[in-house]
Point group: C2
Chain length 176, copies 2
DNA sequence: CCTTGATCGTCAAAGGATTGACCATCTGAC
DNA sequence: GTCAGATGGTCAATCCTTTGACGATCAAGG
């Protein structure tokens, strides 16, 4: 609480915010607040790092990479499955694939048993491009993970997965 | 690796992805990969929960809430400071404030010592609205945090802050 | 069959966010 | 003082994403 607001930066803001909130809203849980703020800000910094160092230089948006990534890993997929795995709407996949197809990274093919559906698959060039890009993406992940000891990484992953699989996560269904 | 791709969902995808990647790209660090994927997906679920249950029903975008939030906590702020604390560009703040001012939640005032700058402040109604909204926001944070024991929460926060203040975070400067 | 309801992909519209350009203004060196 | 360079807020252009609507298609019950 000693800092003047104008001197705060993106990170020290968390401490300042919790102090101020405690004074005005005693019902707020400061631990949950710190957890939410820290997690959100860390994830934002991570995505910004990935996007600016790895994906934008390749001419891909963050959403475009996510579509390529799920196709790379989960093989040919119908469009709706790609949307679910990438965590975006069907319309977003449709729009992104238009660009990816133009760039010869993805192909669209009809599905025999369902004439409404479209099967998305990586081209050979798309496969190679994703593999190369993800390798660099993972180098950035390694650089972040290097701040922790191996034991700390294991603990952190365990706690994040506990949150991810907990009841609050089940209640918050994304893009149903 | 036993699941068929079409049966995967947003969360079980992580295990499947790591197995596949290990087979194709041995240079990838699976622990860093799991950390990145889990962190990103958890944060996405959190923001989606906040936005859909607390902020959209109030007619606020996620970005609009972030501007109100930093003004609520860090008092009257010049526009560029609000942008830095909220983690967005100056142009985004300018656009969002246009709406917030129209809704009588924020005021724009000239700064005596610098005629380029604009001082942003919450109105009385804005202050009350943010306080009420954040209280509900924090209830959602508490619901998520309840998946962990108090000791686990402390450990998790400590590890997240270690990542946030580590060298990788320092190298990835957002919106310089 | 056929009809009713659900689902798939796409489109249009709207809102958000970034970048880059711009003008006004400030700061510091001369 | 004055001038060059840096900075602040805004605007225009662009891109991405969501929602809602739509036509086409599937599935199940009579």
């Amino acid at each position: 609480m000693t800092d003047r607001p104008a001197d705060l930066d993106y990170l020290s803001f968390v401490d300042y915010a919790i102090g101020k909130t405690q004074a005005e809203l005693p019902a707020v849980d400061p631990v949950a607040m710190r957890l939410g703020l820290t997690l959100h800000r860390l994830a934002g910094a991570l995505v910004y790092d990935w996007e600016s160092t790895v994906h934008r230089p390749r001419g891909w948006s963050w959403g475009g990479f996510r579509v390529l990534f799920v196709l790379w890993l989960a093989g040919p997929l119908e469009s709706r499955h790609a949307a679910r795995l990438a965590g975006m709407s069907r319309a977003a996949v449709s729009a992104l694939v238009k660009t990816l197809e133009r760039d010869s990274l993805v192909t669209r093919a009809p599905v025999p048993r369902d004439r409404r559906a479209v099967q998305l698959a990586l081209t050979e060039a798309g496969h190679a491009a994703v593999a190369e890009a993800y390798q660099e993406h993972n180098l950035r992940e390694q650089a972040w993970a290097a701040s922790l000891t191996p034991a700390e990484r294991t603990v952190l992953i365990g706690l994040l997965e506990k949150l991810t699989t907990g009841p609050a996560a089940a209640a918050a269904q994304r893009l149903t």
